[in-house]
Structures are given as structure tokens and as C-alpha cells.
């Protein structure tokens, strides 16, 4: 019963509003944005410590007791994702100073970033299924703004499709929530979990589970529903792309994770097997896309799809090891995807093209960039001391424990495809003959782009090397995910 857990949502929202004023002064916009994000990071960090010490924190708005009013719940899963979101937003905004152009900065780019962070954090924190829909809309609305800002032809063309897909999936979301309400008669997520456990999940609930998978899968880009992602993500400029790639699909994954570990846990044989099959198909589809393209943006974008598959494979196992792995891998993937997009942005800035065939020989002039790209690529693949390793290890371990031997081996083998796809960028862009170079490379611009990027790569390295320190938090998160009663008790009985 403290309002503290609302701070990571309210601070970005408040700063997003005051950024709407004085929009022509770029200095004001930049400083205010960074200051707001720093404040939010501090509050999220305080919340993390609080949740670690005192267990899940809940807040019932307007003091309506838990199943009736809207509750906000901050357990370990949500607070870790909130903190990651804010840190990444900080780095991406910093990176964007040089690579987003002045016109965009003057037309509510920073407000858009703040509102998207508000929506993402709200979606991670809310404990009410309809409120989840509302926060989804908040972040989608901000993402519509960011994807179309600038008004280039490709942006307009792709954003129409992006909006259309999301409007349809939002309508489906409302329909699904309506079905759930008519069967269960409540919207509070903890209460839904308890009621479904009482009914022991009849067939109709399983239908609703599949509908939820459809809705969230559209946002998370799982196998048959990822068709909109490559085109839509390639259209906006790199900082926006990094923001989308790091945050938006992850909200869909979080929602699947939450609903499939909290609500639909009684008929695992059907729902979770479906999730497992779709996860494997997602990895295959992403792998094909990543290997097929010669466009650096597209390669990394398809790597998002692969990671979605790997994380959901972990969720589908439903044992503690795999869920802990999924959490570790989720946070890792958010960090490393943002870092990779930023590195790709620098490569595109230097060469002036995103076509791999025209690049080459960057290693001679930009060795630091090359090595940091190499480290990030190995981190993405999951080479031992780096950040992807431990998450994938736990996911595979969980897969073996659950008896899915062949699919686990397949997921393990998919790392090779990931490695191949990113190393191909390294080989084509950094080795060989000198390729195309952009005509106007400004050394200070390059340095200003490079500095936040190396910091973020170092964060990802620290995340991998310092797993020892992070594991207790992840243990806690996995406990919440694998045992719904921790969550429901915290909400319905008002915590300790």
C-alpha cells in the first residue's frame, strides 16, 4: 500500500507532458528527457530493492479492495523489466541526439519516447487485465507517433500496415477480455488466477487462452503473426527502431508469460504444447529471415523474431529452471538488441548504406567499432562469459527437465544460425576490400554515437559476467512465475 510503485510510470508521463511545451528549444528537450529518465531509473532501482526485501508490492487505486478496484502489482518480474526498460530508454535517447534529425526533435519525438516508456512500464506493472489493454493502447499510440514521425514515404506506407494490424489485434484483445469476463466474472489478474483454479480450467478457458496467445502473439511477433514486423520496423530511423526492437515485442512476451503462468496453468498439455510448437516455428522462421537478407537492419530485425521464439520456448516448459532462464534471456535480449541496433546505426552512418554487399574493410579505420560489434555478436549468440549464455543454458536445462529433448537440442542448435547471421555482418562489413564510405563523416558525431553504444555493450557484458549478482533477483522472479500463489496472495491479501 505505497504509491512508490507508481513512480516509474508517473515520472515519464509527467516529463512527457512538460516536454510538450517549449518544443522548439532542443537543448531544453534533451536535458529534460535525460533528467526525467534518470529520476525514473532511480525510483525503479529503489523499487527493485524494496521488492527484493519485502516481496511483491501492491497498490489498489482509490482504496477499493483488491478484486473490485484496479490494482497495480510490482513483483520481481515486472520491476526487473521496468528497470531494464528505463535504462535502455536512457541510452537510446542519448544515442538519438546525433542520429535523429533536428526536425524530429522539434516535433514531439521526446514526448513520444516518454509516453512509450509510460505505456511499457504500465503494462509491466498493472494487475488488471483490462488495464493491461489500456496501457497497451498508450504505448501503441506513442509508437504510432514515433513510427510515422518524419513523414517519409516508406514510413507512411509501413505505418498504415502497422496501425491496421494493431487496431485489429486490439479489437481482438477487447473481445477476449469480454469472453474472459463473461466466464470468470472478474478482471483482476490475481482473482482470475484463483477462480480458474477453482473451476479447474474447462474447455472454454482453454479457448480463451488460445485467443490470448493470438492477441499477444501478434504484438510479440510469434510464428504465423510476425509478418508485419520486418517492414514496419525497418521504416523509422535507428533510435526509434532500437526502442521498438528492445521494448515493444517484449511487452507481448511479458503478457504471454504472465497469462500463461498465472491463469492457464491447469491444462498445460494443450496450451503449453501449442506455445512450444509455435516457439520452435518462430525460431525457424526468424532463422530463415536472418540468413536470407543482405540488409543489416533486416538481419537484426529477424534476430528479434528468433529471440522471441527462444524466450517463449522457456515459458512453455513451465518449470522453475526454464522460467528463470526465460527471465534472464528476456532482459539480456532487451539490452543486446538495443546495443546491436545502435552499432548497426553507426555502421550505416559510416557507410551510408544498409546493404551488406556494398560494405567492407571497416576494420582498418574503425577497429574499436569492429571489436565492440564482435563482442555484442558473441553476447547475442551466448558465448560463455557473455550475457546470452546463462539464460539459454537454463532454458535448455528446463527443456531437458520437462522431457522435450529434441526441441531443446534444436533451440541450442539455433544459436549457430544466430551466430552465422551476425558474424556475416562482421565479415562483410569489417573485413575484406574497402567498400563504400559515406561522403560526410564527422568525427565528433561518430564519437557521440559511439560513446553511449560502448557503454551499453559494457552493460551487457557486465550483465553476463556479473550473473552471480543478478541470479538472486532472477530466482525471485522465477519463483513468482512458477508459483502463482505468491502473486495472488500478495494482491488479494494485501501482501505481508
Amino acid at each position: 500500500m505505497i504509491n512508490f510503485l507508481l513512480l516509474p510510470i508517473i515520472i515519464p508521463f509527467f516529463f512527457g507532458m512538460i516536454l510538450m511545451f517549449n518544443q522548439k528549444s532542443i537543448k531544453y528537450q534533451r536535458i529534460t528527457t535525460l533528467f526525467g529518465l534518470l529520476l525514473a531509473i532511480l525510483s525503479a532501482f529503489g523499487l527493485l530493492i524494496n521488492v527484493y526485501k519485502n516481496g511483491p508490492q501492491t497498490l489498489t487505486l482509490g482504496d477499493w479492495p483488491a478484486p473490485f478496484g484496479i490494482s497495480m502489482v510490482s513483483d520481481m518480474v515486472s520491476v526487473l523489466l521496468v528497470l531494464t526498460t528505463l535504462v535502455l530508454a536512457f541510452f537510446i535517447v542519448w544515442y538519438g541526439f546525433e542520429s535523429i534529425n533536428k526536425k524530429r526533435e522539434q516535433f514531439f519525438y521526446y514526448s513520444g519516447v516518454m509516453f512509450i516508456v509510460t505505456g511499457v512500464n504500465g503494462a509491466f506493472t498493472t494487475g488488471d487485465i483490462f488495464n493491461l489493454f489500456v496501457f497497451f493502447e498508450v504505448l501503441l499510440m506513442a509508437s504510432y507517433l514515433l513510427i510515422v514521425l518524419g513523414g517519409e514515404k516508406a514510413q507512411l506506407r509501413e505505418s498504415i500496415k502497422y496501425i491496421l494490424v494493431n487496431v485489429i489485434s486490439s479489437a481482438l484483445f477487447v473481445i477476449t477480455v469480454a469472453y474472459l469476463y463473461s466466464v470468470i466474472g472478474t478482471l483482476n489478474m490475481a482473482d482470475i488466477s484463483v477462480k480458474i483454479a477453482e473451476f479447474n480450467q474447462p474447455g472454454i478457458i482453454t479457448v480463451i487462452a488460445v485467443l490470448f496467445l493470438l492477441v499477444f502473439g501478434m504484438k510479440a511477433a510469434i510464428f504465423p503473426l510476425y509478418f508485419w514486423l520486418p517492414g514496419a520496423y525497418a521504416a523509422p530511423p535507428i533510435p526509434v527502431l532500437a526502442l521498438f526492437g528492445a521494448l515493444l515485442t517484449k511487452v507481448g512476451i511479458y503478457a504471454i508469460m504472465r497469462t500463461y503462468t498465472l491463469f492457464f496453468t491447469h491444462d498445460i498439455a494443450f496450451t503449453h504444447d501449442l506455445l512450444l510448437i509455435l516457439a520452435v516455428m518462430t525460431v525457424i522462421a526468424g532463422g530463415i529471415g536472418a540468413l536470407a537478407h543482405f540488409d543489416v537492419k533486416q538481419i537484426i530485425i529477424y534476430n528479434i523474431v528468433i529471440a522471441v521464439g527462444v524466450i517463449l520456448f522457456g515459458v512453455a516448459q513451465m518449470n522453475e529452471a526454464a522460467l528463470e532462464g526465460a527471465m534472464l534471456y528476456l532482459v539480456h535480449d532487451m539490452i543486446i538488441k538495443a546495443a546491436l541496433f545502435m552499432l548497426i546505426g553507426i555502421v550505416i552512418y559510416i557507410t551510408g548504406t544498409s546493404n551488406l554487399r556494398k560494405m567492407g574493410g571497416l576494420m582498418k579505420h574503425y577497429p574499436a567499432l569492429g571489436w565492440f560489434f564482435f563482442i555484442a555478436a558473441l553476447g547475442l549468440t551466448g558465448v560463455p562469459p557473455l550475457s546470452g549464455f546463462i539464460g539459454k543454458l537454463l532454458i535448455i536445462q528446463g527443456g531437458f527437465e520437462a522431457g522435450n529433448i529434441w526441441t531443446s537440442i534444436f533451440i541450442l542448435a539455433s544459436s549457430l544460425v544466430v551466430l552465422l547471421s551476425v558474424i556475416r555482418i562482421f565479415i562483410y562489413a569489417f573485413w575484406g576490400e574497402q567498400g563504400q564510405l559515406s561522403s560526410d563523416i564527422n568525427k565528433t558525431t561518430y564519437n557521440r554515437l559511439f560513446f553511449p553504444t560502448i557503454l551499453l555493450v559494457l552493460v551487457s557484458v557486465a550483465y553476463g559476467v556479473g550473473t552471480e549478482f543478478i541470479l538472486p533477483f532472477m530466482d525471485e522472479a522465477a519463483k513468482v512465475l512458477s508459483d502463482p500463489s505468491i502473486y495472488t496472495d500478495a494482491v488479494l491479501k494485501g501482501g505481508e
Binding site: 489500456v134 499510440m141 507512411l156 486490439s170 479489437a171 477487447v174 469476463y181 478482471l187 533486416q298 544498409s354
Partner: protein, 113 residues
């Protein structure tokens, strides 16, 4: 009553899908509008039509209307209005830039190699 509403919702969804599958952008937007209307009616129906009285505490009244679906619809309607307005503006702007409102002509993938 529920049966009638089911038919109305179904009809709205049907026409929405028909319109969304057409080529003209404006028809698609009208389709999304109908889709969200169908969804809102569905929420109302899913709350059930039992209860004669407004959900206000008073002596001797036991049969209340469920107020929650109405609150949900209110939120969902506002959101869908906002999105539709944004979509219309975007359609207008893209018609100016791209010189077409035909979805088949918007495929284009010249940047992607």
C-alpha cells in the same frame, strides 16, 4: 436478447472484415471502426443483461445492472475514437505523399534488398 445481440455483433464483424479486406484505404478505416463497435457491443453482451435497476445502493433493490462492462466500453470507445482519428489523418497525409489510397500499390519494398 443475448441471441439478438450475438447476431448484431456477428453482422458487424462480418461487414468489418469485408471492408478491411478491400483495397481502398478509406473503406479499411471504416471497417476498423465497425470492428471496434462490434467488440464494444460484445463487451456489453458479455456482462449479461440481468438486472433492472441502476447500480446504485438503495433500500429494497436487489437486482443491479452490472456497471463494469459499461465502464469498460467507455474506455474502449474513447481509445478507438482516438485511434480512428489518428488513422484518418494518417490516411489523408499518405494520400498526399504517396498519391494513392490503393493498398495494392503500397506494397513497395525498394529499400529492402
Amino acid at each position: 436478447m443475448e441471441i439478438v445481440m450475438a447476431f448484431v455483433c456477428g453482422f458487424l464483424f462480418m461487414s468489418a472484415i469485408y471492408l478491411i479486406l478491400s483495397r481502398s484505404l478509406l473503406r479499411i478505416i471504416i471497417g476498423t471502426g465497425l470492428l471496434s463497435h462490434g467488440a464494444h457491443l460484445l463487451i456489453l453482451t458479455m456482462g449479461g443483461f440481468g438486472g433492472e435497476n441502476p447500480p446504485v445502493l438503495a433500500d429494497g433493490v436487489t437486482e443491479y445492472v452490472d456497471p463494469l462492462p459499461q465502464a469498460l466500453i467507455l474506455t474502449a470507445i474513447v481509445i478507438s475514437f482516438g485511434v480512428t482519428a489518428f488513422f484518418l489523418v494518417l490516411a489523408y497525409r499518405s494520400y498526399h505523399e504517396l498519391k494513392t489510397d490503393d493498398m495494392t500499390l503500397m506494397k513497395g519494398s525498394e529499400e529492402i534488398d
